[in-house]
């Protein structure tokens, strides 16, 4: 659990919620660590967060957001590399976790 600490939310309620999911599904820790390592390999500037936000009853119990800083053109290409890995090589347990690679800017300065 030590390496996971950096991804755990600060908000006490959300923190407990995430920890409860990780206790219930201990196999998720391995996936989260692999997915975060892969994200760090692919995206040059990345931050990972976990939460337990769900909107539909079939949504998995936890989400992993991958916040990546880059130009949108480069991010778009790297997003495709990352979701290819998720789809084909990651053994991605989609019933337990949703991984969301999100563009965190910067936006073009003028249009």
């Amino acid at each position: 659990m030590v390496a996971m600490v950096q991804f755990i939310p600060q908000d006490p309620k959300e923190k407990e919620s995430v920890l409860a999911v990780l206790r219930e599904y201990p196999e998720l820790q391995d996936f989260i660590l692999r997915a975060s390592e892969k994200a760090e390999m692919i995206f040059p500037d990345v931050r990972i967060t976990l939460d337990t936000v769900r909107h539909d009853d079939w949504d998995p119990p936890v989400r992993m957001k991958v916040h990546a800083v880059d130009t949108l053109d480069r991010f778009e290409a790297l997003f495709s590399q990352y979701t290819y890995w998720l789809a084909y090589d990651a053994n991605y347990p989609q019933e337990l976790i949703s991984v969301m690679p999100l563009w965190a800017g910067p936006r073009a300065s003028s249009r």
């Binding site: 936000v53 909107h55 539909d56 079939w58 949504d59 989400r63 949108l72 991010f75 778009e76 997003f79 495709s80 979701t83 290819y84 998720l86 789809a87 084909y88 991605y92 989609q94 949703s98 991984v99 969301m100 690679p101 999100l102 563009w103 965190a104 800017g105 936006r107």
Partner: protein
Amino acid sequence: MMRGRDFLELAHHLESTRTEASHRTQISRAYYAAFLEFRAFCEEFLHHTRSKLPREHAEVAQALAAVDPQLRVDLAFLRLARNDADYELDLDAETIALQAEQARRLATSLIARLDELVSDMENDAADDSSPELANQ
């Protein structure tokens, strides 16, 4: 007749309206553009029967996995982004603006991939029914 991709045209049209509400709407329309196009594909090519239930969003994504697992992952991501845009009003305006650009691009890319897929499948079907092949 209205098609799913028509919602993407609207999302692009809304780009000039740079309000948070517009950005959130763009994300939502981008998702529905892709979802509805893929639903039509699944009905035509994968024997999917429309259930008209909320869970159909998951069913269409799961059906796509048989064709291309990455399509399932990408469509699922877009749905999550749409849910955040519609329901998570605490997300700040700048984050939403970024996600609007990302969602429009991804939906555009997904629909382009779908069109290629349909073209390949139709070409394969035409080859299968070619007289030359039938005579071999």
